[in-house]
């Protein structure tokens, strides 16, 4: 690991000042010389691998005093960005009214990592692409723009089939973000100019021709909270993976339904493990809305979700697997007792 200086931020102003101080224009936030430290489960790992090379670290954990509240309300939910994954996952009201959130967190990482990792850091975690994480591979457009992509014709079994470009097929690895994007969450962003709110769906950027730019966050900005309108008791997070526990998704689905008198009034479907960014399957949702549920409908919705999927040599199985995951998640959401 390269040397860095360490500083604790005791209030949000101090944090955004320190993070914005050395910010170079055009430098994506992931390459900023000053990096925020929350749980550290991505940052310290990638610094050890020499993938991330900050000159300074700003420890924002003292901000947890104001930024870690879990606040269920009658008309929605607000989650502080420094709340720990384990605390949110185990919260009784989240389990009852937002099972898709609770399960997306419970099925991620390990108990130790969930005790460390924060919600804000979780959505900012970097891809697990082996070529991105191993600096002995020179060709990674995400690490070194213009260097090529070793995954494209390499061992790409874990890679994405949706949202891909000819520059990058790295999978977005998280689970919680799928729940957020399905529920139309808003992200609260704190920066020099104060606090602004934006749809969570606008946070991540598909790789396109600039895979090194992963989010719309600017250096000096921090996610301070997430908020969700309404309650979604009829929701599930289903995750298919190589092992039963402690593994990233091969394919996952966040599904939330509003079913009245047998008809689907509202449907939300988001996909994980198969896309370069948290992925909303609006085509599937459109097919479901207003319909009565049956297995054939679930299969049509699943087909629609993967209509644009592009498989490569080792990951084409994710298309068939992903469709089954979507169909099963829909089935579970329809039949669950609430």
């Amino acid at each position: 690991m390269r040397p860095f200086s360490y500083q604790r931020a005791t209030d949000p102003d101090m944090a955004v000042q320190a993070l914005g101080a050395a910010a170079a224009a055009n430098n994506p936030v992931t390459k900023a010389l000053v990096q925020p430290l929350a749980g550290g489960t991505t940052l310290i790992d990638l610094m050890k691998l020499d993938v991330m090379r900050p000159a300074a670290i700003v420890d924002i954990n003292p901000l947890a005093r104001g930024w870690s509240a879990i606040e269920p309300k009658s008309d929605g939910l607000r989650l502080g960005a420094l709340a720990k994954m384990s605390d949110v996952a185990a919260h009784a009201e989240i389990e009852r009214n937002y099972p898709v959130i609770a399960d997306s967190l419970k099925l991620a990482a390990s108990a130790q990592l969930r005790n460390m990792a924060t919600l804000g850091g979780n959505v900012m975690q970097r891809t697990r692409c082996s070529y991105f994480r191993d600096v002995s591979y020179e060709n990674c457009n995400k690490r070194s723009p213009g260097s090529g992509c070793a995954a494209m014709d390499g061992v790409n079994r874990m890679h994405a089939v949706l949202g891909v470009s000819d520059q990058c097929i790295a999978t977005y690895p998280g689970d919680f973000a799928q729940a957020l994007i399905a529920l139309d969450a808003m992200a609260e962003i704190t920066g020099k100019a104060g606090t602004r709110s934006m749809p969570f769906a606008q946070l991540h950027k598909a790789p396109g021709s600039t895979p090194d730019i992963e989010t719309t966050l600017q250096p000096g900005e921090l996610i301070s909270a997430f908020s969700i309108q309404g309650r979604w008791p009829r929701s599930v997070y289903l995750k298919a993976r190589d092992r039963q526990s402690y593994e990233f998704a091969l394919s996952s689905a966040a599904v939330a339904l509003d079913v009245q008198d047998g008809a689907i009034r509202d449907a939300r479907v988001a996909l994980g493990g198969v896309a370069t960014v948290p992925w909303r399957a609006r085509e599937a949702e459109a097919l479901l809305k207003g319909q009565e549920f049956d297995e054939a409908l679930a299969r049509r919705a699943a087909d629609a979700a993967f209509a644009e999927a592009k498989g490569r040599r080792h990951n084409s199985f994710k298309i068939a697997l992903g469709k089954r995951v979507v169909a099963r998640a829909l089935q579970q959401a329809v039949t669950m007792e609430i």
């Binding site: 550290g40 489960t41 108990a111 130790q112 005790n115 082996s130 061992v155 874990m158 990233f248």
Partner: protein, 204 residues
Amino acid sequence: MPDKPGSRTSAFDRRAFLAGAAGSALVPMTARAAAQEASAPAARDPSLPVEVTLRVNGKDNRLSIDARTTVLDALREHLKLTGSKKGCDHGQCGACTVLIDDRRVVSCLTLALAAEGQEITTIEGLATDDRLHPMQQAFIDNDAFQCGYCTPGQIMSAVACVKEGHANSEAEIREYMSGNICRCAAYPNIVAAVKQAAPEIVKG
């Protein structure tokens, strides 16, 4: 955890470490630090040691460390508490599990500087006087290890698993202990040990 094609080989030389080289690695840096602090206090070299107080097993320890030092390395290299083990050093295996403020974490991804002011509990801090912690005794009773390398992490994780209320069935124990890998695959015996110790720990 991901596949790791072309996995990196470590430059770390265990033989040299065992010969005592690692213990003196920080000495030149400390000497350089003293020289530079005297001449240029304003622009601080980030590679200079920094002062930190770590509270481990109820005792405060004043250390002068490199900012890059993890809690795991501070425990093993500076405090000579070698019970916590370095397996993967990337938060994937759980061998380095300790409790910080009574919550289990992987110490290899926790910066020592960030842990200042918190209570660190390691495997060395579990037993009281000459009596083993119920989880330590349960691991012995159930033969819950072969090589033993993952055991300190397993035991720390298991203590937390019980205290969190996640030891109510074999399936739940397996799920909530999945962050601790055992290469010898002593899993059935580990689950049995957690089951045995759980009521005693809950009872207090």
